[in-house]
Amino acid sequence: MRSETRLFAGAFVMIAAATGALVALPYLQFRDLRPPSGLHPYTSAQLRGRQEYIREGCVYCHSQQPRDRSQAPDKDRGWGRASVPADYFYDTPHLLGTMRTGPDLFNIGARQPSVDWHLGHLYQPRAYVPGSIMPSFPYLFEVKPKAEPGDRVVAVPRQFVPTEGVVVAKPAALDLASYLLSLDHTYPLVVTDNQSR
């Protein structure tokens, strides 16, 4: 056999084995997964907000995968029970994340259910969490001299608002907040939800 043939045949076998184990097997295993009864599909506002979460790259600092209590105190921090594959039934693309520069957000909607808090926090995180290093997102908001009918005015602590005018949330900020509120996986798992773990 020529060396080239051996090289490419070998290289093909290796990548096939890796793809089989890490892509094909999980595909087969999760293909028939059903959503847990407590999990609801995203509304269109939540989906738009999820897209906003992706656009701004929130995933680079926030995970969405609490670990089991036996490994880490994620539950004690209020991040929720360890997640299972079925919890992600509606999550494409996946947003599991690999960093916790900020806290896990898998249950942020349950932990922090106030829209006002989220909007203000997106506008200026340091107004709510001293020492936070989260970016502020002023471009998701508008500063207007006066609120108009239908405007969602954001209540930000006085020292963080411009001296003149009010802070109004743009639709993108409202969508993002509604996505964050939808992150609530506190429903109980019944045995069948957990079968693939």
Binding site: F8, I15, Q29, R55, V129, P130, P135
Partner: protein, 546 residues
């Protein structure tokens, strides 16, 4: 699926694979002697040091170091290097285009990285611009350095090494040029997309699939010269670097295509696919490209063949096998099947086999020649890169262990590790290769040798500060996060001094890159003192130019 069965079968496959390897070695597939290692030298060349980046004085000192070990070596006969001069000439245009693109991306990537680093401790800086928000500029940094700088530089060196390794001229270079055009067009579109917020949200795969396909096509086109040149080779034996290059060029389009298949991946399966890709683009593309360079340039500079050639091939196959399945260690503790995690941890530990094979070979070959790093700029980079390969791989194995991973996962420690791999190992190796290659490509010496030293020390200092500070900061962050008694904000506060130090490291690295880019431009535009010392170049070439 029963995890025990999967585990056992993984072990079984590993053992069968190794068995096949040993059997094929016994049957002379790889040759039982080390004559293969001499393929990169001409008849009387062993014992002749070579570094086109070294000044005359350094080169003399380098040769003296080699002579001390090998005694007096045979003189080369006239015209012995004529074939190689022709090989170099055939690849110079292609290599030049790739390396120029690489350096452009390196600068963009460095500044994007530096901005993201500063933003992490000064979060309100430049916060009014959407495209500069941390989540986007960090991603622009990653894509520019990974798919721009590293890919273009690695492939450029590959195109240059191929005709030398196969002792012929580069065939089908225009396919590579077309590939480079598609690749760069895709990357410009991709980075633009990320800047305006059009991203897939998948780490390492952020570019929308519509533009990613351009990179798949470009990558495939860049593979064509490999096939055409292989068909015209005049060597019987394929040197180990060819194995690494061939496999890398073969693997990348497959990886990138499967990862970007639209409408196939979902939920947790997409997460495992994401890390299958994220780790294999390292193990199946960047690592082999850099290793091919080390296996070529290191012996070449000191004029000494690899000391254990068979070990390098053992390293190749074991790495190809074990590396492919380590990706899921990025999901330890996550909602993925335990059999998958266990498989990845096992294979991460098995990676010790290729690491030790590489390290042994490297140390044996360098034994007695360490002084050569004083005189050869190329070797200085390559030696650091090779040491960093060993370090990053061992660290990777450690991080995959559940006990260590529990601390380092989700922290800056991982970011430090990633830079130890992609920068300290891969980028440093590529710098070394470029210093060797460019004088051959433009037929001119580097005009200011001191700038090579400045580049080296700046990036060495920068990356040390960067990696050490993120490793300490990340470790402390992980410990703080594991202590339920401490508020989460403690884990942020403990990292602050270290992420500030990271900005200092990043600034030093960026400064080094500016020096490098300026030197590159000076060389290309023929600025500075002109030295093209005929003795340094191939004999045949000096005759041509006489």
């Amino acid at each position: 699926m029963d995890p025990i069965i999967v585990l056992l079968s993984a072990f079984l496959i590993s053992i069968v694979a190794l068995g096949v390897f040993i059997w094929s070695m016994r049957n002379g597939v790889f040759g039982t002697d080390s004559s293969g290692a001499k393929v990169i030298f001409t008849a009387h060349e062993v014992g002749h040091a070579e570094d086109p980046a070294a000044e005359l004085q350094s080169l003399t000192a380098l040769q003296r170091t080699v002579d001390l070990e090998q005694g007096h070596t045979a003189a080369m006969v006239d015209g012995e290097l004529a074939q190689r001069a022709e090989a170099d000439r055939s690849s110079s245009t292609v290599t030049f285009v790739f390396l120029s693109c690489a350096i452009g991306w390196l600068l963009l990537g460095s500044f994007a990285g530096l901005i993201s680093s500063i933003k992490m401790h000064s979060p309100d800086w430049l916060s009014g611009y959407a495209w500069l928000t941390f989540g986007r500029i960090r991603t622009i940094h990653l894509n520019a350095v990974v798919y721009g700088w590293t890919s273009m530089a690695g492939l450029g060196l590959a195109m240059w090494m191929l005709p030398r390794l196969l002792k012929t001229t580069l065939q089908g270079g225009r396919f590579a040029l077309l590939g480079a055009v598609l690749w760069n067009a895709g990357l410009i579109a991709g980075i633009g997309s990320i800047a305006v917020g059009l991203t897939t949200g998948l780490e390492w795969l952020e570019m929308p699939w519509q533009v990613a396909l351009l990179l798949v096509a470009g990558g495939a086109l860049i593979g064509i010269p490999l096939l055409l040149t292989l068909a015209r080779r005049t060597v019987d034996h394929l040197y180990v670097s060819v194995w690494y290059l061939g496999a890398a060029l073969f693997w990348f389009p497959i990886l990138y295509l499967v990862a970007n298949l639209p409408g196939v991946h979902f939920g947790v399966e997409q997460a495992t696919m994401n890390w299958w890709y994220g780790h294999n683009v390292l193990g199946y593309f960047f690592t082999p490209l850099a290793q091919a360079a080390i296996y070529y340039f290191l012996p070449k500079v000191i004029g000494r063949p690899l000391q254990s050639y068979n070990l390098s091939l053992l390293g190749f196959w074991t790495q190809a096998f074990f590396y492919g399945m380590v990706g899921a260690h990025h999901l330890i503790g996550g909602p993925v099947p335990s059999w998958l995690i266990t498989l990845s941890i096992v294979q991460s530990v098995m990676m010790i086999v290729p690491i030790v094979a590489f390290a042994t070979n490297y140390a044996l070959t360098m034994k007695g020649y360490w002084r050569a790093v004083l005189y050869s700029p190329t070797l200085r980079f390559i030696v650091v890169g090779a040491v960093m390969y060993v370090l990053v791989s061992l660290e990777g194995t450690m991080e995959a262990l559940r006990s260590v991973n529990t601390i380092t996962h989700f922290t800056h420690f991982t970011v430090g590790h990633a830079h130890l791999g992609m920068y300290a190992f891969v980028a440093i190796t590529l710098f070394g290769g470029i210093y060797f290659v460019m004088p051959r490509v433009v037929e001119r010496e580097w005009p200011y040798p001191r700038l090579i030293a400045a580049h080296f020390w700046l990036v060495l200092a920068g990356m040390t500060v960067y990696i050490v500070s993120l490793s300490i900061g990340g470790w402390r962050q992980g410990l703080a996060m594991l202590d339920a008694a401490r508020p989460f904000m403690d884990s942020v506060a403990v990292t602050l001094p270290w992420i500030k130090a990271r900005s200092v490291g990043g600034a030093l690295m960026t400064a080094g890159h500016l020096v490098f880019a300026a030197h590159f431009l000076a060389m290309v535009f023929q600025l500075g003192p002109r030295r093209d010392r005929a003795a340094l170049f191939h004999l045949a070439r000096s005759v041509d130019h006489a």
